[in-house]
Amino acid sequence: MKTKILLPFIIVSFLFIFFILYVGLNRSNIYIPETVTNEKIPTFKVKVFNSEKKLTSIEIFENDIYYLLNIWASWCIPCRDEHPYLMELKKNKKLEIVGLNYKDKVKNANNFLNELNNPYTLILSDTDGTIAIEWGAYGVPETFLIYNGKIIKKIIGPMNNNLFKEIESVVK
């Protein structure tokens, strides 16, 4: 009796897993960016990394320039991949890169920056991950292009060459 319910259930579960893995296999490994346009940035108050100062979202994004909010963590391996792009974007004077350090230890985060250099003009500290939730982020890394208090573009996953060029073309 038990077998009669259990066996079909297990078979269906395994078929489901097979299906998922099969589809996953045929997907490219390149992260697909998701674009969200003209959504307002969330309002929040956040601690600045390596200091006790607190800032509000309005203070952070107040100037009339483009901002790039990058959610990162030292334990996140894809963050290492996208780091060179951020370093390159840093050279763009019309863009300011704000880092949101996600669920990280200060020591590890500092090591990460010392090792790979610091692309950020300002780093915010999100030790419990709540600010990232405010932004609707799914994980790390994630990047938001912001202008005039609005999210112009949202990138889920690490940046790649195409996305990098796209940002360069927007921020001229």
Binding site: T3, L6, L7, I10, I11, F14, F18, I20, L21, Y22, V23, G24, L25, N26, R27, N29, Y31, I32, E34, A73, W75, C76, I77, P78, K103, K107, N110, N111, N114, E115, N117, Y138, G139, V140, P141, I156, G157
Partner: protein, 623 residues
């Protein structure tokens, strides 16, 4: 020439597989005795796989670039040692190694199981042949190690420098003996289920095979971890990388399986556990191969991505899963065996409790590893699961796990009581006080840390006491559990006492802090056969006394052209001094990372103790 022989040998092996299948079926139907023809055929199959494997090794030694595997993964300037280890340092060659282990193990199984029932032996051979055929076709079809290139290139592309390392040269063979060794457990359990032979005798016999796989898997993981520690230069021993996770999952399943088999051998209980775990161990090993080879996961060490290969392994993997489900549901008899109720305070109950914990740890690792794939397919969201996830979910549950590990072996089978067990309380009190003091001194005042230290110390003291009180009784188990407590303690101390200095220095400069000074004395350049090295010389002083001279390296490999950073590590019993040096782009500065990692060697050492426990158990019965 060698490639040609190797290539034909593969086809011959496939031919032998067909013959073995044919004679197995015949043997199942007709005769009472095991047909010795099967043994000869298995031996011949093994011989041809060995021939094929040596063919590939010789092609590597001779730098025969008409062979595409050699062309892609070797170079004439490489030292002989790495030419040979390059044989299994790539996808095609490593699969050939898989096959070698598959055929070797079934041969060893057949010659060592002469006392077992005939039907069981033939069926084990049959199931193993299904796996062998699957892999042979996979190898020949999608990843032939003997594929030819014409015109013949004059030079190879070289082996990835981070793979040119002694630990990594022996890491794959050892790991595969564990991984693939579990195939024998899989075939055997299916055969035993089909013939209703799951019994105390079977448990006693399969236990040895579980131990062999387990020992090699443990050592294989250890070697990989040591390699990652000094070669990748991240200064840690475990990163929860998908590739590490896929080796940890079969290990967890295998460890649980071993404990279940002990119960089965003594009490004829937990038969379903044993069957499911035996199946799970090998399917997890296969899933690992799938996840790593198909490129479905992003990891620091993925092989070349190829969806076709992935699809083949995926289909094959699920064929095996459904085959085992079929055997389990329609042949496996549970009647009358599992109805014995467990008394709450007994050895088997404590083993059962820890089984569930192990399954929990396994589930955490499994979900952390494959959940990103599921989420991506179902919702197109990308996430990265990192250490915080694993730490949060695993660490708290280590506490009851450690306690059960300490108390469980003290209990009797069937029913136990806690009389004359006052020393258990005493040792617990000592552990608690000791942990409390340590937490105070280290100034980490978290409740969970105190309990964690307490439970680790508790297991440590109890096993330590048993060495003196019980002597040789249960020695194997005691060694392994002692090793585990030592491992947890080393990890804890390592985690809480590590210190680190990161700074940018140029030659001649000195970094000063309250505790130490680091003086960058000079750099020198050295030319070797396959790389050029820039070696820095650093004098580390503490209180104006010279503590260490460290010489981290930057290596510029010629083929392929890659720069790697070689950490210099000074190891002693108390701590590791670890230094890496990296180029800062377009500057004369070097980025220096100096770490003091206490008890690092104890982490490796305790894993060796754990596997030594397994080794001891393996030889115990035979003495």
């Amino acid at each position: 020439m060698a490639s040609l022989i190797g290539s034909y040998s593969l086809f011959f092996s496939l031919g032998f597989s067909v013959l073995i299948l044919f004679f197995s079926f015949k043997n199942l139907k007709n005769t009472i005795n095991f047909d010795n023809k099967l043994l000869s055929l298995t031996f011949l199959q093994l011989l041809f796989i060995i021939l094929s494997f040596f063919g590939l090794i010789i092609a590597f030694i001779n730098s025969d670039f008409s062979n595409s595997t050699v062309f892609n993964h070797s170079h004439t300037t490489k030292p002989l040692f790495y030419k040979i280890s390059g044989t299994w340092g790539n996808h095609e060659g490593s699969l050939l190694l898989w096959l070698l282990v598959l055929t070797l193990f079934i041969f060893l199984f057949l010659i060592s199981s002469k006392k077992q029932p005939k039907k069981y032996r033939v069926l084990t051979l049959l199931f193993q042949q299904i796996i062998i055929i699957g892999f042979l076709i996979f190898l020949i079809q999608t990843s032939n190690p003997f594929a030819q290139i014409y015109p013949v290139p004059s030079e190879g592309l070289g082996l990835n420098p981070i793979l040119q390392d002694p630990a990594l040269a022996i890491h794959p063979p050892i790991l595969y003996l564990g991984y693939v060794g579990s195939s024998i457990i899989f075939s055997s359990v299916l055969a035993a289920s089909s013939t209703n032979y799951i019994s105390k005798e079977w448990a006693k016999h399969i236990k040895q095979w579980i131990l062999i796989s387990w020992i090699f898997l443990t050592l294989g993981i250890l070697l990989g971890s040591i390699w990652a520690y000094y070669e990748l230069g991240w200064g840690g021993f475990w990163f929860w990388d998908p590739v590490e996770n896929v080796s940890l999952m079969p290990w967890l399943a295998l460890t649980t399986l071993f404990h279940c088999v002990l119960v089965l051998e003594k009490k004829l209980l937990l038969t379903s556990w044993v069957v499911i775990l035996s199946i799970a161990t090998f399917t997890l090993s296969m899933s690992g191969t799938f996840l790593v080879r198909s490129g479905i996961l992003n990891s620091v060490h993925t092989f070349a991505n190829d969806p076709e290969r992935g699809l083949y392994i995926l289909i094959f993997l699920f064929t095996l899963i459904f085959l085992s489900l079929f055997v389990f549901f329609f042949f496996h008899k549970t009647d009358g065996q599992n109805n014995t109720s467990f008394f709450w305070l007994s050895k088997e109950t404590s083993i059962l409790i820890n089984n569930w914990f192990m399954m929990y740890f396994l589930a955490v690792v499994l979900i952390g590893t494959i959940y990103p794939i599921f989420l991506d397919v179902l919702t197109s969201q990308k996430i990265s699961v990192g250490p915080p996830f694993y730490h949060k979910l695993i660490i708290p549950f280590l506490i009851p796990f450690l306690l059960a590990m300490a108390i469980g072996p003290k209990l009797n089978w069937i029913k136990s009581n806690l009389q004359n067990k006052s020393h258990l309380l005493l040792l617990f009190a000592i552990s608690l006080i000791l942990s409390f003091l340590i937490i105070r001194i280290l100034e980490i005042s978290f409740l969970v840390n105190t309990i964690l230290f307490t439970s680790a110390f508790y297991l440590f003291f109890i096993t330590l006491r048993d060495f003196f009180i019980k002597g040789f009784k249960n020695l194997a188990q005691n060694i392994a559990h002692f090793g585990f407590s030592l491992l947890i303690l080393s990890i804890l101390f390592n985690n809480f006492l590590s210190t680190e200095v990161i700074t940018n220095l140029k030659v001649g400069e000195t970094y000063k802090s309250d505790e130490l000074t680091i003086n960058f004395e000079k750099i020198e350049k050295i030319k070797k056969q396959n790389f050029e090295a820039i070696i820095g010389k650093f004098n580390v002083k503490s209180d104006n006394e010279l503590v260490d001279i460290l010489k981290p390296e930057l290596r510029i490999y010629n083929q392929p052209n890659i720069v790697t950073s070689e950490a210099d590590i000074k190891t002693n019993l108390l701590s590791d001094k670890f230094m890496t040096m990296n180029l800062v782009q377009n500057q004369e500065y070097f980025n220096i990372r100096y770490q003091i990692k206490p008890f690092m060697i104890w982490i490796w050492f305790s894993v060796i103790i754990i596997s030594f426990g397994g080794l001891f158990s393996f030889f115990k019965k035979k003495i």
